[in-house]
Symmetry: C2
Subunit: 281 residues, 2 copies
């Protein structure tokens, strides 16, 4: 593991690292925010953030305004990249931004040529936390959140892995990818044309058989231009109601899909996670 | 004036506009953050932010985390671009990033071919506020702040224009440009080789004859890689002491030149401005 950069921030440190990923079979970068409490030796709870299409580890750290409160709460933040990267990793054949590099959809691909590298689920759920827990003063008290494709990732990672996370939330998640254009494009390539296998990677489908009643906090802007076609919060609401799963879904009037929306409500999410993770909220 | 984009943020609105600038003889973009109080009809105080080399109106709005507190304080934020822009505007002959487009140094150039477009002082001090005050519910209670080249700009604009601003602050300003490589390169081209004329655009030189005792708040990271060669906070301290000018200069241990540093201390600056501007601090 090699350090890429280091910036003091709100009394703590924002650091970026590069490491060889065994799961993804390529080099990856991630970022970590260590609040000031990390220098006191105690192991701290950690929130994993999954970003949306085209993003890297940088977007959330630069734009969400999360470090101020993380420093106050003693919460570690970790952001991953959104796909495997590098010249050896195949991308979208047409060079589009909604598939391939920058668009890993946090699943394990089964189809060629994607299956070799595109295993973002195992990377963010297992390999990255194992690395983080080995190198930094973090506990196994894990939360997960994300935006758009990363909101889908957060919900799916939590629902597929009972016991792994103590808290989950999402901003404008792609809530029902098996029934929207972004999801259909990605799933048909990564997972193949048999739609029955897509259900393992769809938050709405997973809710029906969830073994754990982890409360979901979801914020969605009602002026989000992707809302009706791609995001489908109503499908999530119906699935949670049908399953009796606790969901707080807040439609935020006037807000769009940008990081200005995320920044406006990140405090509520950080407090939601800190309370469940045992941070000093 | 034409709107470029609009995002709801912390209950208010972040908006970007394009307009023809008479002073700069080209089209310009700026951004404004209107806090929720702007919809109540009252005219609000306004803080102008000047960014550093290579930046546009976007960097501060995306990365400083300022809107949260501006929304609480009822403070309008305005960010300008850092130079005239466009294919008709001459840039650095060698294509460098520290001169020309993205590097207007907030002065009025006297030398050709720069003098036609490079008049950022008159733009940010006069033309832009006149436009903003005509179109938005802002008062003539103005503060000014900035980072690096924009910190230089904030100090110089305030010191040259007594009565124009009620508050001023800076992050890591180029405090003594007539005696550093960035300043020498820019001033020798924009203003010519006669160094006596450079003093009109140097905060340290201007302090000696300041007609107004506007208190200066300056934050500087002590791990800033540009500190000794380009920024020279000690020269600013000596000039303020010699002039008996009130200066609060804080060396922040471990902080660098990035927006993580700005975000860490923006709250103190916003409260400093809000108190002087009569916002609801």
């Amino acid at each position: 593991m090699e350090i890429v950069s280091s910036n003091k921030s709100f009394g703590g440190w924002h650091k970026r690292y590069r490491h060889p990923s065994r799961v993804l079979d390529c080099d990856m970068q991630f970022a970590i925010y260590l609040p000031p409490q990390a220098e006191q030796g105690e192991r701290l709870p950690v929130l994993y953030w999954l970003s949306g299409l085209t993003c890297t580890d940088e977007n959330f750290m630069q734009k969400a305004g999360a470090m101020r409160l993380a420093a106050e709460l003693g919460l570690v933040l970790v952001t991953s990249d959104t796909s495997p990267r590098g010249p050896e990793v195949p991308g979208d054949p047409e060079g589009a931004w909604d598939f391939g590099q920058g668009a890993g959809f946090y699943l394990n691909a089964t189809e060629q040529p994607w299956a070799r590298h595109y295993r973002m689920h195992d990377y963010v759920v297992d390999e990255l936390p194992t690395l983080v827990e080995a190198h930094f003063p973090v506990s196994d008290s894990r939360g997960i959140s994300g935006h758009s494709m990363g909101g889908h990732g957060a919900l799916v990672c939590a629902l597929r892995n009972p016991g792994r996370y103590r808290s989950v939330s999402a901003f404008a998640p792609i809530a029902n990818p098996l029934d929207c254009p972004w999801g259909e494009k990605a799933f048909s390539r990564y997972l193949g044309e048999d739609r029955s296998r897509w259900r393992e990677w769809d938050a709405c489908a997973l809710l029906a058989s969830a073994q754990e009643r982890l409360p979901l906090l979801v914020d969605q802007g009602d002026a989000d231009s992707f809302l009706a076609e791609q995001l489908k919060p109503d499908a999530l609401r119906r699935a949670a109601e049908a399953a009796g799963h606790p969901l707080t879904l807040r439609l935020q009037p006037g807000y769009d899909h940008s990081y200005y929306f995320i920044a406006s409500f990140i405090e509520d999410h950080l407090r939601h996670h800190a309370a469940a993770l045992g941070a000093a909220s």
